[in-house]
């Protein structure tokens, strides 16, 4: 057993699964439920949840990407960049990498929309006025849409990476 590869694989797969599952669960279960609950509770919970959520999502995404890159260099020490463009395995790996980076970027924009909504929610001392309510609804809907796109992007990245060893 190659202990280094096993450890790298665990450091890539465990955070990867955490990233995928958290992103899909947040985008398709939690955020739509919070949208139905509405103010004043939902923005308050989102504000409260944002910090640990960002730690889990950023931490798992960065670990997945960094250890994925290290593992790719480790399993193809004799020229990763040659096989990336000239083999089916390489094509699946760089496509998966691209999807994961784009999904991470989209997830960050969704997080910023959530943060702006939470900031408005925190600044409220009573019910929101019509402009504040409209702004919060716009930010919430944008965050939900972007989170769904980002989650689907990560799922696609996982599927491409899993497919790589069969082509």
């Amino acid at each position: 057993m190659d202990a280094e590869i096993v450890i790298l694989r665990l450091l890539h797969i465990l955070p990867g699964a955490t990233w995928v599952g958290s992103a899909v669960f947040l985008a398709f279960v939690v955020q739509p439920a919070l949208a139905k609950t509405g103010p004043p509770h939902a923005p308050a919970l989102m504000a409260n949840m944002l910090k640990p959520l960002m730690i889990v999502l950023h931490g798992s995404a960065i670990m997945t990407i960094v250890f994925g890159i290290v593992m790719a260099f480790r399993v193809r020490p004799d020229g990763l960049f040659d096989v990336l463009w000239s083999t089916n395995w390489g094509t699946m790996i760089w496509l998966g990498f691209l999807f994961s980076i784009v999904a991470y970027g989209i997830g960050n924009v969704a997080g910023l929309s959530n943060k702006k909504m939470a900031d408005i929610g925190k600044s409220l001392t009573g019910p929101p006025n019509p402009e504040q309510a409209a702004e919060m609804t716009k930010l919430r809907d944008r965050a939900i849409l972007l989170a769904k796109i980002g989650a689907l992007g990560v799922v696609t990245a996982v599927a491409l990476m899993a497919f790589a060893q069969h082509v």
Partner: protein, 161 residues
């Protein structure tokens, strides 16, 4: 390329990832933060998402386990008779046991969630009872997350064992 094997493997990996990530998200982020807001929000959220949670997570768990069984029997050079024998068989067996235990623990957590939801809805439950349901739910959530991580870790490293 065996298309059936590839499709089964992708479904297994995606549903397993969702199961693990959702379990960690629930235990580490959502449950503690719901507790630290208001009882009214806890009641509303339990009403809105507890059944949806169960549906998504139970479905992901069932799909992961069924496709996992299919993979054991269709992976070249391996079969159910290898379970418990050698490195690969031992790791897969440990992962299988951990995932079944996680499924059972998840079901028990679902029962605590239902008790908590009913207690908050009816107002009949005492504060002590509600606190006991919350403690149970929180503990089972962490146990579930740890078991799913063990299952994914052992499965992911099985072919190197």
């Amino acid at each position: 390329m065996d298309v059936g094997l590839v499709v089964t493997r992708i479904i297994h990996i995606v549903s397993g990832s969702f199961w693990m990530g959702a379990a960690i998200y629930l235990a580490v982020v959502l449950e503690p933060k719901i507790r630290s807001t208001s009882v009214d929000l806890e009641r509303q959220l339990l009403n809105r998402i507890s059944k949806l949670n169960s549906l998504w997570i139970t479905s992901a768990a069932v799909v992961t386990m069924v496709t996992g069984m299919a993979l054991v029997s269709t992976t070249p050079n391996h079969s159910f008779s290898d379970l418990g024998n050698g490195g690969w068989g031992t790791m897969i067996l440990v992962g299988l046991i951990a995932s079944v235990m996680a499924f059972v623990v998840s079901g028990m957590a679902g029962a605590f969630t239902a008790k908590l939801r009913r207690g908050l809805e009816s107002g009949d439950a005492t504060d002590e009872q509600l606190a006991s349901y919350r403690r149970g739910l929180s503990t089972l959530g962490y146990v579930n997350a740890v078991l799913v991580v063990i299952a994914v870790g052992t499965m992911a490293t099985a072919r190197f064992a």
